[in-house]
């Protein structure tokens, strides 16, 4: 089971945004408007937490909490 706070801290670092903004309910595409930055972040999380995701895994992901759940299900 991944530590949700560690994932959120990493998201905050990669996106260079305050950690208070990275809540479970935060919508990823509102945190970062540029999809290519989002791709970089998702790949960084996989490398950092040693998890692999596929394109299909991201289809239902809208929020930070969704992303943490998906990372956990694959971890």
């Amino acid at each position: 089971m991944l530590d949700a706070n560690k994932v959120k801290n990493r998201i905050s670092q990669v996106l260079a945004i305050p950690s208070e903004k990275v809540t479970d309910e935060a919508i990823l595409q509102e945190l970062v408007m540029d999809s290519f930055i989002l791709i970089d972040m998702v790949i960084d999380l996989q490398n950092t937490f040693n998890v692999r995701l596929n394109q299909e895994d991201l289809i239902p992901v809208k929020t930070v909490g969704d992303l943490i759940n998906v990372l956990n299900s694959k971890g």
């Binding site: 990669v14 999809s35 290519f36 930055i37 989002l38 791709i39 970089d40 998702v42 790949i43 960084d44 996989q46 490398n47 692999r52 995701l53 596929n54 394109q55 895994d57 991201l58 289809i59």
Partner: protein
């Protein structure tokens, strides 16, 4: 050969190329920064440097032709994500990159055949196409090396998905900008 001044549509098209190269460079630059050390990090860093250089070539080309680049808000590849979905891992990123690079080389080859092509534009296209050949080579090899990890069928399916999306995006782009490009390129 009498050299004509650059038309506004030609200026737009070269600016479109420039914006696309800048977007590619920014994306690969971020990835090159975050990937772990290894052959993919090495080649991706070179790829990032090439895309940056290409954006400079187009900037210089436009300036040598006596015009400034047009500021464009979106790049060609921005539409890929909505058409194909977001790539989630490095294999999928390389898959979409391969499809995109093939599109770029095809587009530049098409432009190279344009009637009365200005030598400044021709030499810029020639410079870039040489690098693009290497881009296709290294990405193809990297994907081949990933077959044991991801499975050949899965990689082929990913490429097919992105290739279908690319056709859709290209047709949409050509249609959207038909008035600008129909006098320059013959499809």
């Amino acid at each position: 050969m009498k050299l004509e001044a650059l038309t506004e549509n030609q200026r737009w098209l070269l600016s479109f190329y420039r914006t696309s190269e800048i977007s590619g460079a920014l994306f690969f630059g971020r990835l090159a920064k975050s990937l772990p050390p290894g052959p993919i990090q090495t080649d991706l860093t070179k790829h990032f440097a090439d895309e940056s250089q290409h954006s400079w070539y187009w900037t210089r080309c436009l300036q040598n032709l006596g015009v400034e680049p047009i500021k464009l808000e979106t790049a060609y590849q921005d539409q890929y994500i909505s058409a194909a979905g977001m790539p989630a891992n490095i294999m999928e990123v390389l898959g979409i990159t391969l499809v995109f690079e093939k599109r770029v080389i095809g587009q530049y080859a098409l432009h190279r055949q344009a009637k009365d092509l200005h030598p400044e534009i021709k030499s810029t296209l020639d410079l870039i196409v040489e690098d693009e050949k290497w881009h296709i080579e290294w990405v193809t090899q990297a994907l081949k090396n990933m077959e044991a990890e991801y499975g050949k069928d899965h990689i082929d399916k990913t490429l097919k998905n992105f290739s279908d999306a690319d056709k859709e995006v290209y047709q949409k782009t050509v249609k959207e900008h038909e008035e600008r490009i129909s006098g320059i390129l013959k499809f």
